[in-house]
């Protein structure tokens, strides 16, 4: 079975840390955004963009690249962060998050190279991914994969199950769904607001191969992606149910839907960033814009 080397592990962990760091920078500076759902995806995105996916920042529309659609498009800070880290845009661009002519609040194809679709309303991305996977089949491209990241709460949406049904019907084993099962949605816990268990059974009954992993364990993430791509390509799409912690890395945000959408003030952002650095064993690095007062016309907060 495929195994990350110690060097790879160290590298990916640092990338995951940077994804978290840039996400907080972005959200604090724009005074808008979703910390919880950005943090829970950090390891997933790190492995995808720095290990698993075929990509070329110089040729963002390379025909045989892998495509990623962030169906939970409010997780945009983490995606913009990883794209910046991977060289799709200069890192400074993250400070244009939610600015006129900058990076849209929810991922938008025109915002940055490397973004493959436009989102915002939950539940729609898997259908777009199904269409892309069909398109790749039509173009006889056997290498590219379409990866779609969904939220757990998002899986309340019927559109997800329409897409799931059709992906199995059309044997789209070039499609990999990843559910960021971080146990919380916007206003509470998944089990409380709208339970989705038995979750793996749902996907199985809809005709998918199911892998369940700890979504913060880089080794498991890498292995699941490898398995989905090379081992389980048996005529059915694969879903990776990634058990994660919403807000993972900041104590007050962990499993806490109150930090689903909320922008920290500069001091809180600073403290959060220092905490994240400590938690992951990096030198403390505070909020880079701490000196700049909040310049926005309103303290928007995000909720």
């Amino acid at each position: 079975m495929m195994q990350l080397t110690t060097d790879e592990l160290r590298h990916l962990q640092e990338r995951a840390y940077q994804i978290r760091r840039l996400s907080v920078e972005m959200i604090a500076y724009s005074q808008w955004g979703h910390i919880g759902g950005s943090f829970s995806m950090a390891e997933l995105l790190a492995v995808l963009y720095f290990k698993d996916m075929k990509l070329d920042p110089e040729q963002p529309s390379l025909e045989n690249r892998d495509r990623l659609i962030l169906s939970k498009a409010h997780g945009s800070p983490a995606l913009y962060a990883v794209l910046a880290l991977r060289g799709f845009m200069p890192e400074e661009k993250i400070y244009q998050y939610c600015e006129l002519g900058g990076l849209e609040g929810h991922t938008h194809i025109e915002s940055a190279p490397g973004i493959e679709a436009t989102g915002g309303p939950l539940g729609m991305g898997l259908s777009v991914a199904v269409g892309m996977a069909m398109g790749l089949r039509r173009k006889e491209n056997p290498r590219s994969r379409v990866i779609c990241i969904l939220g757990d709460g998002e899986c309340n949406e019927g559109n997800v199950w329409e897409a799931a049904m059709s992906a199995a019907h059309y044997h789209l084993d070039n499609l990999i769904a990843i559910v960021d099962y971080n146990k919380a949605m916007a206003k509470g816990f998944v089990w409380d607001l709208m339970g989705i268990e038995p979750f793996a059974d749902k996907w199985k009954a809809f005709g998918w191969n199911v892998l369940e992993i700890d979504g913060h364990d880089l080794q498991e993430v890498a292995r699941a992606l490898y398995t989905a791509r090379w081992v389980k390509a048996n005529g059915s799409p694969v879903v990776i149910i990634a058990h994660t912690v919403k807000g993972k890395g900041i104590e007050q945000a962990e499993f806490n839907y109150k930090w689903h959408t909320h922008a920290p003030d500069p001091e809180t952002a600073d403290a959060m960033l220092r905490e994240v650095a400590r938690n992951y064993g990096y030198p403390e690095e505070g909020y880079s814009k701490l000196e700049k007062a909040v310049e926005k016309e309103t303290f928007y907060g995000g909720e």
Binding site: H108, I109, E110, E116, A117, T118, G119, G120, P121, G123, M124, G125, L126, S127, V128, A129, V130, G131, M132, A133, M134, G135, L136, R138, K139, V146, G158, N159, E162, A163, M165, S166, H169
Partner: protein, 324 residues
Amino acid sequence: MAENKTNTEEFRDAFGKTLIELGKENPKIVFLDADLHTSTKATGFKQTFPDRFVQVGIAEQNLFGIAAGLAFEGFVPFPSTFAAFASRRALDQIAISICFPNINVKIPGSYCGVPTSRAGGSHNCIEDLAVMRALPNMKVADPGSNEDLRQIMKTAVATPGPVYFRVTRYAVPELFGPEHRFEWGKGVVLRPGSDVTLFGTGVMTHFCLEAAGILAEQAIQAEVVHLASVKPIDNKLIVESALRTGCAVTAENATIYGGLGDAVSQVLAEAHPVPVHRIGVRDQFVESGGIEELFALHQMTPQDIANAALQVIRKKAKSEQEAI
């Protein structure tokens, strides 16, 4: 320009044929069906290009999402369902997965308005023009005849970005010859006149021509302007014609809230205010009934258009009086 030939082919038949024609010209065209292809008349396309026909089942949200994905991969998808479901069932998908990124998806809305008739209020879709018009980047067309539909479809494929066009389950005499070309934002004067302009779209243009005939018997010269392109709309021609005639009637096979009538009223209000009367469904569900019966019930017949014309002509006369 207007040639009246008898024609018993419904729009959907012309749609089916043109689809094959376009399919031959453009290998990127893919047809997506949501369990309705024999009704929408895409069966010929399916038989001719079995590999380019995708069945998604009864799942319209997925239909439009898949279309977006295929468009991102360079295809030209035609996701097809009844107008009712295109405009109401998957509007979020159409707006955000398709219109916002401004991608190349061509949406035929089948079974529009009154002529869907016996299926009743849930199917006799009157909202699509208003709803689609409200979406940024969306272009909207309602053809007046089969040749018009054919040209709209050709133009739709040649135009990048999202397009919504109507395919009504109805037959009207052909308005155009083979030289006809459709252009976005361009209307056509089908019959010149000086007393009133009848602005029609879709099947109602034919009724406008009949209304002009009725009015001619009373020595009233009605100008008939066909506005297949509901969005963008032909501001210039609308104003020019109103300058000539001084009053207008609009006629659409849809609700008068938000469609052609509002569009024309607004163009005129902005540029050259004249009396306008709107013909269309007046904020009711079009319940089951016979086609002609329903046109009568909703006061959408050629006679109703003629009566409306007389009304606006009277208003024009009155305001001219006042101005003097």
